[in-house]
Symmetry: C2
Subunit: 296 residues, 2 copies
């Protein structure tokens, strides 16, 4: 389980399946709200690797299930991720004007519509799970409960607060706490929710949970590295924006070399957890390698 | 079923039960997010009649159930209502600085925190239902599905968009459409969700559904009247704010006298629907009378 030397391949077929599913979603037939739906779709269909839903599909695969078995839940996670990006980009928050190489939602549609587009995507995400996700009602409830907890005050929303108001200590523990809430819990939910939906034996459950936690850390370290070393055109946003926003990152706290070492360590731990989990983990392994070696 | 001549009494005991339940809610034990929780609680505990949760408790009563049987769901509706008020008051939306006689959330805590406080209350509302609402999982799912649909693009969030962007026709049908989405569907959900949770015979179901739709209309007409005739101190916000925002209301479209007549008509229809529903509807009748005759 040495770190892969060059950029690992991304499971593009899963990404395309997610894109196709997101593309056919409609939120209302009212002409009066068509403009709101347009703003929501603008941000939702702006591209991206769809890492969270792809992780959910790959987790289903690891547990012997099909894409269809978990697609509604997987797509809901991407709707939620998109809602959080729209709100984070607002002038009152991070004030970002570019995202994935395109003007952000509020730049195109105005702040009022952007706030509502975020709110709308949040509601439609929950609705999607409740309307379309198959499975035993008790298991669907359990998966949804985990998803919502991951984006609550003790999850994503709380993490954004900690980031904006800098309420965590300025050390490694504080940095890890911030990222666990802000990005880690939703990434982990992309693995945990299918696990709760389908159920699994103890070894698989324990292994996948360790994997989920480690992958969130890996993702964030690499994100921080790319903000410093990445190519603007490939990233689709200005390079060095973390530094300009005065944000603490793995690079600002540890320096670039140490951050790279931490990323390799995290990758190693994630792959080890997957090996312990057993099952059809080839795609999850591929995603883990990709996350370490990605350049966007 | 003549309209009551003087102000009807409000079921204060139910309001106090809701207040007590909301007061003891906690959203996180993290010290890093204590400031976010404070902002959420500031708006949530700012008072108000708690009409939506009180309606849910009274509907439970009508169907032979206790307050406890539906309190988590009822409280979740108030969390959602509060989230929508916080976002609606933002500078980019209605730009209101006073709500229930107190400075609005963004005035006290800043826009960034107010956006997150709204997002947080939304997540915690869904979490509350999933964590605390008792009942058969399939019925809980059905009630939650209805609640979330009521605040989606084809509900509350869509209604706020129609209001802000004025996308509905400038006539009675357009006004009714706007209010059905923006306020009517959540008020109706306070009745429909307990109905889905507990189940009921056909007469009760049909009667309560008609009642729910009519009550939403009644509530909005009276709200529009009070914006013109109400006492600022009692309302807790500046009088005439609809007019200043250039908003179409029942008063601006029909004039004060005709609006009052429409309110009496709506009240009559709501009471008739309750009579058809049967069951222990005394408290629902009381709320209906109160909504017609309230002065705040």
């Amino acid at each position: 389980m040495n770190a892969p030397a060059r950029q690992a391949e991304y499971p593009v077929a899963l990404q395309r399946a997610v894109d196709a599913y997101l593309e056919q979603l409609r939120f209302s037939e009212e002409t009066t709200t068509a403009g709101l739906e347009e703003a929501m779709r603008y941000s939702l269909l702006a591209g991206g690797k769809r890492i969270r839903p792809v992780l959910a599909l790959a987790t289903a695969e690891a547990l012997g299930h099909t894409q269809d078995d978990v697609m509604a839940l997987a797509a809901a996670i991407e709707l939620i991720h998109t809602y959080s990006l729209i709100h984070d980009d607002l002038p009152a928050m991070d004030d970002d004007e570019l995202r994935r190489g395109k003007p952000t939602c509020h730049v195109v549609y105005g702040e009022d519509v952007a706030i509502l587009a975020g709110d709308g995507l949040f509601a439609e995400a929950i609705k999607l799970v409740l309307d379309e996700q198959d499975g035993d009602p008790e298991r669907v409830l359990r998966a949804l409960r985990h998803l919502v907890a991951a984006i609550s005050v003790s999850g994503m929303v709380g993490g954004q607060y900690v980031d904006v108001k800098e309420t965590a200590p300025h050390d490694q523990a504080g940095l890890r706490h911030l990222h666990e809430l802000k990005t880690g819990r939703l990434i982990a939910a992309a693995i945990e929710c299918p696990l709760l939906l389908f159920g699994a034996g103890e070894a698989a459950t324990m292994g996948l949970r360790r994997f989920a936690a480690e992958l969130g850390v890996l993702f964030q370290i690499v994100d921080d590295i790319l903000d410093v070393t990445g190519d603007e055109a490939a990233l689709g946003k200005p390079q060095g924006s973390d530094e300009r926003h005065g944000k603490r990152t793995y690079v600002s706290v540890f320096g670039l070399e140490k951050a790279r070492e931490l990323a390799r360590e995290s990758h190693h731990n994630a792959r080890a957890a997957l090996a312990d989990a057993g099952g059809q983990t080839a795609t999850l392994e591929q995603i883990t390698d990709y996350i370490l070696t990605r350049d966007t």
